[in-house]
Amino acid sequence: MGLMQYGALALGKKIRKKEASVLEAVTEALDAIQEKENVIHSFVTLSDTYALKRAKEVQKQIDDGTLVSPLAGVPVAVKDNLCTRGIRTTCGSKMLEHFVPAYTAEAVSRLENAGAIVIGKTNMDEFAMGSTTETSYFGATRNPWNQEHVPGGSSGGSCAAVAAQECPCALGSDTGGSIRQPAAFCGVTGIKPTYGTVSRYGLVAYGSSLDQIGPIARDVSDCAAVLEAIAAWDQKDATSIARRDMDVTAALVDDVRGMKIGIPKAYFGGGLNREVKEAVLAAAETLKEKGAITEEFEFDLAEYALPAYYVIACAEASSNLARFDGVRYGYRASGYEGLHAMYKKSRSEGFGPEVKRRIMLGAFVLSAGYYDAYYLKALRVKTLIKREFDQAFERYDAILAPAAPTTAPRVGSSLSDPMQMYLGDLYTVSANLAGLPAISVPCGRDQNGLPIGLQLIGDCFQEKKIIRTAYAYEQSRKEWDA
């Protein structure tokens, strides 16, 4: 069995037991990428030279006993919106095609300090705007389960890389579902932590009040291990929170007896694919059989989450992306007359259509005369949604829902109808608006063999509850990928 067929923790264990060397692990990851990239295209940039150098350093630290982390020597793929010193960071955009950061994102540094080896930067929707990884300037990533289908997005490259066994784990970012939805489409596990749990320093911002970095891996245990490594208070991020309860691997317990799980009716209505609905409800049934108490409840504001999300995310994006102007770094158009033309031409040529759409939408909702009607109203909806979640979590330990209304759509079928694409975020955006932790775990496949994801949403700071629920479910899951 090749090393890339092992999960992150299993591979880490083999390395610690000297059954495999770090160099072998890195080499096999690079070989697997070499073999599959033509078809899958998970990566924008490979950091092979760097990874081989790091492999030697980490091996030495393992050998002399200075590095005992469970992830030591494990290859990891990093979404291309996380800055990596000396390794170009494109955000899937022509704008940053040649941008090489001078510093490394805090989450990546923490993972590297735990001995993980960055093997490359994964493809994504341009500036994380999209749900299919098709808006990338560097071409679409394909779903490893069926190459005619998209891997989801925006962390499509990271999820596809893990699903295609190019590496055992990856980092993604989730602003409105960008970890959970592609994880569901690719049949892997992903966690969006509570807002503030993982430092955003070095994450190229999309929607600052919604963005969170999280792990993507083959199972719940691996995700928990990666999350434990990256979660920490960081003084460089004013929105980061000091937590003492991030020993989340302690929650890997196969016991859900007495746990109360709420099922929001609004998430199982029209628009939800029948096969997805059946698989997710079957997962609820499995949890019930294991002793959990499941109960349907009304979630009245569900329908307002999506418009509020797009107003807030786009408003913040229009501001965050203002810095890409061709002045200090990034794409600068050639042939312009004066400053204004330089801005206009560089940004017109450097950004793709989806990014431009969201910048314009965001600039509109922030403009004088519309600010109250759109942006402030969206903030009020956000507050109300958080309140409704608070009420729900007075009764439930976790909320169970689909990660996406459908399985992975065909390549090319989504971009022509952006509204339809936006509707695909229906079940994921609420967790971002309310800052809640949520996990996506595979729970079945449709008749075409495409994976289906189960989403568990927890109350703020209750990662352990959803990790435990997901882990317990995973232990009793039928052979979903058979």
Binding site: N81, L82, C83, T89, C91, L96, F99, P101, A102, Y103, A105, R200, Y201, G202, L203, V204, A205, G207, S208, S209, Q235, K236, D237, A238, T239, A315, E316, S318, S319, A322, R323, F324, D325, V327, R328, Y329, L339, Y343, A363, L366, S367, A368, Y371, Y375
Partner: protein, 479 residues
Amino acid sequence: MSGQYETVIGLEVHVELATETKIFCGCSTAFGGTPNAHTCPVCTGMPGALPTLNRKAVEHAIAVGLATNCEITKDCKFDRKHYFYPDNPQNYQISQLYLPICRNGSVAIETEGGGKKQIGIHEIHMEEDAGKLVHDEVENCSIIDFNRSGVPLIEIVSEPDMRSAEEVIAYLEKLRLMIQYLGASDCKLQEGSMRVDVNLSVRRAGSAAYGTRTEMKNLNSFKAITRAIAQEAGRQTKRLASGMCVVQETRRWDDANERSYAMRSKEDAQDYRYFPDPDLAPVHISDAWIEEIRARQPEFRTEKIARYQRVYKLPLYDAEVLTETKEMADFFEAVAAVSGKPKKASNWLMGETMRLLKENGMEAGEIRFCAQHLAKLIALVDDGTISGPVAKEVFAKMFDTDIDPERYVEENGLKTVHDQDALRDALMQALNDNPKSVEDYRNGKEKALGFLVGQTMKAMQGKANPKMALALLKEILSE
């Protein structure tokens, strides 16, 4: 014509806060330096960089707010102000619109008639400074220095309560001194650590409604401000008097040619698309924090003047002159403490010190000699070790290189000669050399004595004790 019109002025004053590091990152705020030496991913707007608030900047802003009788906003927030310009690396400036840190304050100024007038403070908000754009004519390109990018600023927005250039200068001087006393900024207009924009309108005297205002920029000295106000008030009055209207616009002052020209009108006004910065949490300012800052507030000028008169028994004039800058006041207090002779300390500082400072184009903060040395000099004169003229000479030396006056007097043999014989010889010489003066004295001209003593002092290179010389001279002449 102008008698029928009244000028109405409000000011926007930007002040760079004297923090060691920038407002949202750890880079140095030092003025000058190699271009882009004091920069990092945060203050150059690199992707993924995040701001974190410098608490010291908040403390300075609160201190200025308290000194100007403002209400402190307990939960203030930062907002993003969007505009594209290359010196603004994020293409938004982090500022405060919705919840500025201080509001509703006032500053009392003395008016020409000797009365007092309150100038209202609308608000004080915090923001980050921009970088500096340099146009290279030779290479025909623009280059940017981000050293200043992220330096903390406060903008003090007054109400339109001023009616003349005199009031404006009185307000600015009061504000500047207060901020300098607080140590919140050095407030140098030339270096740009204090920048003043003048909002000015005119209206018919007695009218309750305000006229259309213009905003004047690029005012780099109090003199320029005074000139610009006179010119702009005249320009607007002339327009109104001849039936034309004033256009709401931003104007740039050209001090060399004493005229201003329009930069942009209200129609060109940008939509800054302000919204709360999601990267920064609201700043909670507790009562305890405010009280802590209040307890640290220094003694301001008015209080100092009163204390100098009360404790040091100085005349009002001395107290006023010494407190014109905080540096001079601090230095005076140090000399007064060491010497125990406040009036003499005051005389030296207001006399020789200020004269030499002015001559050398220096400021009080640049005084090189230490308080201990000036105290020693005072003691040397007091106990008759050296004469007044010698003291001046020693002082000049001390002003240049901070020598120890005691040792200098010793080494250069400047001690007053108390030897009666030497003095008598010198006096006899003076009498012989100036028979006319002797005759004048005998004819009742007392003044002639002074001349003779002076000649004697000169002959003895100032080392004579003038009192002793005078007594001896009278003795000789009466013989």
